[in-house]
Amino acid sequence: MNQTLIRGATLPDGTRADLGIRDGRFVDPQDVGASATVVDADGLLALPGLVDMHTHLREPGREDAETVLSGSQAAAAGGYTAVHAMANTSPVADTAGVVEQVHRLGRTAGYTQVRPVGAVTVGLAGVSLAELGAMADSEARVRMFSDDGHCVWDPLVMRRALEYVKAFDGIIAQHAQDPRLTEGAQMNEGAVSAELGLPGWPSVAEESIIARDVLLAEHVGSRLHVCHVSTAGSVDLIRWAKARGIRVTAEVTPHHLILTDEEVRSFDPVYKVNPPLRTREDVLALREGLADGTIDVVGTDHAPHPAEHKCVEWTAAAMGMVGLESALAVVAHAMRDTDFSHADLARVLSAAPARITGLSQHGTLEAGTGANLVLVDPAAPHVLDPDVHRTMGRNNPFRGTQLGMRVRDTFFYGTRVVADGALGAPLDFAEAGPWND
């Protein structure tokens, strides 16, 4: 019998407690036998395993950028026990076959729960709906669908997608970007783009799509998730929609909580990302939205790129930043001057994304649920060095940033996949049995 006793951990609410794990589930610590492995968690913060709603694992197709294995290891190292792998692979995850392949690769890796996201439209082309039902019924049991990287721009296609997934309580995650308003766009449109002469990416290109989509979701009574919200106006729109009772959830990335378009002055493509880095005013609005619950979750939008796609001039560089291994520390850093608590961190990084995506075994430390847990040293000052990260992507914009939090241990269904900051052995699914969603 596989048993672990975590002794003296600090819970998100600030209380101290022991946590018991047996056969992959949380149990009452009293019920853990004497043979249990004891982990001294004195001074460590215990959070439910983190859940990322927005991850690019690149496999199949771009194994030079990331694989399901390397991405899973990066997730574990960052404290994530579940990630949602976006559909913009090659081939696109728009059939049951591709999502099942990704699902199986995730189980084989065994470092985190890899949940494939299905494409909304065939080939992400925005024209005809992919076989959403087949993906939902597949072994991968897809519940979230997104054309991320592309906007479901046609309002009629968006309406149909929102309606259709109600049949299996699915959710459409929209990449809100009007394609016509952002043709050739390279950075946020404003004073900095005017000066640098880079084609601008206006806030309204995001906000107009969000405005349309929340109204569509209201009209058809469906669930909408807005990926990587980046502007103050978007926060206002979502706040308005929620007040109106529309079933919308929203996500922000760690980088949009700190970085601004001023970084682009360096012309260093590590700062090139979609949606683009915005202004200080937007950053402050996003923090406020995250604190007051308007924005439900932090999603990493972990987007690894090989060096040759970033070691070029700005205009030729790929968009995207990695984030799985720095998200927790970066979010804590971003929110350090607010009264954002450890409970809030647990909410936006674990409980809320688990709830939205229907992951019943994540997002909680309750006895009886899956023992998905991360132990964090909340006072571990360090300078971020992406070169030691497990992801294959080195495009982390926080290189050299002084951060305070560090992941010590990650338990994935009871298996200590990260121990004292080092990668441990993966979870063996042959022993663990089926996923417990």
Binding site: G190, A194, L196, G197, S266, F267, C311, V312, E313, A316
Partner: protein, 331 residues
Amino acid sequence: MRHLLSTAQLSRAEAIDLLDVAEQMSHVSTREVKKLPVLRGLTVVNLFFEDSTRTRLSFEAAAKRLSADVITFTAKGSSVSKGESLQDTAQTLSAMGADGIVIRHSGSGAPHRLAHAGWIDAPVVNAGDGTHEHPTQALLDAFTLRRVRAGLPASGPHDGAVGRGLDGMVVGIVGDILHSRVARSNVHLLTTLGAHVVLVAPPTLLPVGVDSWPCDVVYDLDEAIASQGFDALMMLRVQQERMDEAFFPTAREYARRWGLTDARARALPADCAILHPGPMNRGFEIGAEAADSPRTVVLDQVANGVSVRMAVLYRLLTGQSTADRGREGQL
């Protein structure tokens, strides 16, 4: 000054110094030996990722008049489309012994990246990057304007304008500001030198955020001509592709509202100089009367381009820091 990437980086003193050195360089073309030995034994690489015969020839002439060896590399499109990254290209040239790199690129920021990514040591001169900046064009414009301001011949050897700025001058820049690297470089430089810049353009061809620039913005050219008292008017070239992108309804309407028509040329103050970075679209942004007027200094701009680029190469490729020349202690 290690690189010349943007005119925003230039202080007034540095800008005037470059213009003054360019004045000295302007004498060379009339001398018996049209060459100075200052860059003898040094190699200047012209890296042109975007077609521009005029700018390339101007930089070549400048480097050769300073006795440098010149290697020119032209490749259309981005480095990526060639299957070679900017990094590899730069490092290859560096290995060949480039002492200075002049780069023209269709992507804004490419020269900045080349200068600051840690790939190479050589000084980098921005010869025009995307819609960002074209600092040597702005310097030659400022050089020409300074001559005009002093009532001197707009080009050719002369020392009368040495030491001066453009204080009090009112300069209009008309046309496609949004896509113009010339406009961006000129707004910074002319303002630094004391001129007042007025941008005149259709609202669709002004960048969002232009309100943070140190200049005035006017939509109506006739009103601007009537009220501003321009000392000089710079007409920008409107690229053919803009007409296809619906920035304005038709070429005819653009010419009618923002072109320097014969009537507008006559309405300008008598001593107002007319500049154009070339090549001109006659009958479109500039009418025949303005294009052929003696007030038009387009050819002077071209001549001054060589002097200014000589000054830039001289400043970047010799010496290490700004200091007064000491007579004592020289060996």
